[in-house]
């Protein structure tokens, strides 16, 4: 297990191919119920992203927890690789989904100022011909806000840390195809070929 502590990538632990990020936000008074609903919407958006597409974000999981009698919010994620290079992608594919729940936090004052200074949400849309320059110019401000509320894990374990999502998805597809083969009565005979011996060993259960 290694610790990543440079300013650019923030602070967090990693295990295998996976890194963790945990952030703690202050909930605006009276906004708990709206925040609760917004975090559910955020999770719903993530659920709707097909696994193939989600591979591009590297996101393995995301969790919002409201605690301290509704006064604080934890947003914790794990992701593949270092988050920093992919944070830009995150912003481009849906900064509005972040703003949806961020607006109920005390830190939104800073976020809102960042949005305004960046020229507005629409500037981050993929159809902005100047998107690349826009990101280079502005996204560091949002990262700084996120890192300002980040606390590093003091211990991190992930049982599937040896495998990336592309590997897992590929294994899943292979499994589905293999099971389809095994459902064919001719499979028993076909798998007797010496070249398929490793597959035959896997065919019994």
């Amino acid at each position: 297990m290694t610790t990543t502590t440079n300013v650019k990538s923030g602070k967090g632990l990693s295990d295998g191919v996976i890194s963790e990020l945990a952030t703690y936000w202050n909930v605006l008074p009276g906004h708990e119920d709206e925040l609760r609903a917004a975090t559910q919407r955020f999770a719903d958006v993530l659920h709707q992203i097909p696994p193939d597409k989600n591979i591009h974000t590297g996101l393995r999981d995301s969790r919002h927890v409201i605690f301290d009698n509704g006064q604080r919010l934890m947003w914790a994620t794990t992701f593949e690789n270092d988050w920093d290079p992919y944070f830009d992608d995150f912003v481009q594919i849906g900064v509005e989904h972040f703003l949806d729940w961020l607006q109920h936090t005390a830190q939104y004052t800073d976020v809102s100022a960042w949005v305004e200074s960046s020229g507005g949400v629409e500037k981050f849309r993929l159809d902005n011909p100047d998107i690349e320059a826009q990101m280079k110019r502005t996204v560091g401000g949002l990262k700084a806000i996120v890192q300002s509320v980040q606390s590093p894990a003091t211990g991190y374990f992930n049982q599937l840390s040896a495998w990336t999502m592309p590997q897992i998805v590929k294994a899943q597809r292979l499994q589905e195809a293999f099971q389809q083969v095994l459902d064919d009565p001719r499979a028993a005979e076909a798998l007797q070929h010496p070249a398929l011996e490793p597959l035959l060993e896997m065919a019994a259960d």
């Binding site: 798998l191 019994a204 259960d205």
Partner: protein, 441 residues
């Protein structure tokens, strides 16, 4: 293997029906009574108590045996004070019908389809009566009926006659009630010499359990101590459908093999773990050997499928999610209804099945956990789409039989077992029953 370690159990106060193995064969009856007059119910308890045996003096040679339990509604009806009722666990307070969604009683198994009065608040007091034969059983039932005849405030509202045939086989044709846990401190030997005795607190309240804790106990102590919980269920078995499924999915010579893969044992009781390829009646009939096995040498399920009924219900040393010893239970299974004659493939409309009874100190951790996780989920064995092939609510589920060269996967499984109803009961110790009988509320 010794069992006389751990806390000294008050075997003279624990109802024998809680821990003692049942005779085989036997006839029996489950009687449910409604309490309309708490004073009459207390009088009934006073009459029943002398007939109840504790574990310490249980004589397997005695021709009859009784066990008594009360539902939460029954404890209310007999006048247990509210502050005491509040100390029972919430799942017991709610009753089995209210827990239907939790334990997989959905669809055909849902309480709205249950046989009346099961699932209603009228089931208050349940008496389980056992006798060596049907004639004795009938005499015992007459005695019980006489006992309530002059007590108009207590009404028999349901009766189910049960029996265990001489070959000990349940309606699908498999020898049942083989696996029994060893309970520390009872001197009652379980049937698996490879399993360390389980702490008494897993089965009787007031003693240390497998977590090294005293399970939550109803108060006052006199009521809870030496008591346990019982969950009984009337499970209708679709024997003809089971046979047809075997016929349709296996060549004639394979039907028994296929059924054994579902069950985890051969019809004789011989476990697949010890006799994977064919039945072994000698092994199946030998109580010193027919449960003396583990699954550790068969991690892929090539001998006994990891999803087979018996392996799900007691995974022993299999690699699964969870701790097997925290979810063990005492099971009592007894046939009801006539057997379907051998070879018959069409349903004759008769009600037949298994009266199942769970005994344990933790309704939620034992009975409800097993129903929810081990019967109706496959994640714990790495097969989320699979449920118990024999007793699970299938919803068109699948079942994998590992075998060489390639596994066999059955899809679109029908439901072979349907729950006709049941209830959670508290089976008090004898001192507690006397306390209930002498209540002055």
């Amino acid at each position: 293997m010794t069992t006389d370690t751990g806390a000294a159990l008050e075997l003279g106060d624990i109802q024998a029906a809680t821990l003692m193995p049942r005779p085989n064969p036997y006839a029996g009856a489950y009687l449910a009574l409604r309490i309309d007059d708490r004073h009459a119910a207390r009088e009934l308890l006073r009459r029943l108590i002398p007939l109840l045996e504790p574990v310490s003096s249980f004589d397997p040679g005695r021709p009859v045996s009784l066990g008594v339990g009360l539902s939460f509604a029954g404890l209310e009806a007999i006048g247990v004070p509210a502050e005491s009722l509040a100390t029972f666990p919430s799942e017991f307070q709610q009753g089995m019908a209210a827990r239907a969604a939790e334990i997989g009683d959905v669809g055909e198994n849902a309480p709205e389809h249950w046989e009346a009065p099961l699932g209603s608040k009228d089931v208050h007091l349940v008496v389980a009566a056992l006798a060596r034969d049907t004639a004795l059983m009938e005499a015992l039932v007459v005695l019980a009926q006489d006992a309530v005849r002059d007590l108009p405030g207590v009404s028999p509202i349901w009766q189910l006659d049960v029996h265990v045939p001489p070959d000990g086989r349940e309606q699908f044709g498999f020898k049942d009630s083989i696996s029994e846990p060893t309970v520390e401190g009872t001197n009652i030997l379980g049937s698996n010499p490879h399993e360390a005795p389980l702490k008494a607190g897993e089965f009787v309240l007031g003693y240390e359990d497998e977590n090294g804790e005293l399970p939550p106990m109803p108060q006052p102590e006199v009521l809870g101590h030496n008591g346990t919980y019982v969950a009984f269920r009337k499970l209708h078995q679709r024997v003809a459908a089971f046979r047809r499924y075997l016929r349709d999915n296996a060549a004639d010579t394979e039907a028994t093999w296929l059924a054994a893969k579902f069950v985890g044992r051969w019809p004789s009781g011989a476990p697949l773990a010890l006799s994977p390829d064919k039945d072994n009646p000698e092994l199946g009939g030998d109580p010193t050997r027919n449960n003396a096995f583990l699954y550790g040498d068969d991690p892929r399920g090539l001998k006994c499928p990891v999803g087979a009924h018996a392996r799900r219900m007691n995974a022993r040393d299999s690699v699964i999610t969870g701790q097997v010893r925290l979810h063990r239970m005492i099971r009592r299974g007894t046939n009801y209804g006539p057997s379907l004659p051998p070879g018959v493939l069409e349903d004759d409309g008769a009600e037949r099945g298994l009266m199942f009874a769970f005994v344990g100190a933790h309704l939620a951790r034992q009975f409800e956990f097993v129903q929810k996780q081990w019967v109706h989920d496959g994640k714990f064995i790495g097969a989320p789409a699979e449920r118990d092939p024999l007793i699970g609510v299938q919803d068109g589920g699948e079942f994998t039989i590992p075998q060489r060269p390639i596994r066999r996967r059955l899809r679109g499984l029908p439901d072979f077992v349907v729950n006709r109803g049941g209830e959670y009961c508290f089976m008090p110790g004898l001192r507690a029953l006397r306390w209930l009988a002498e209540l002055d509320t």
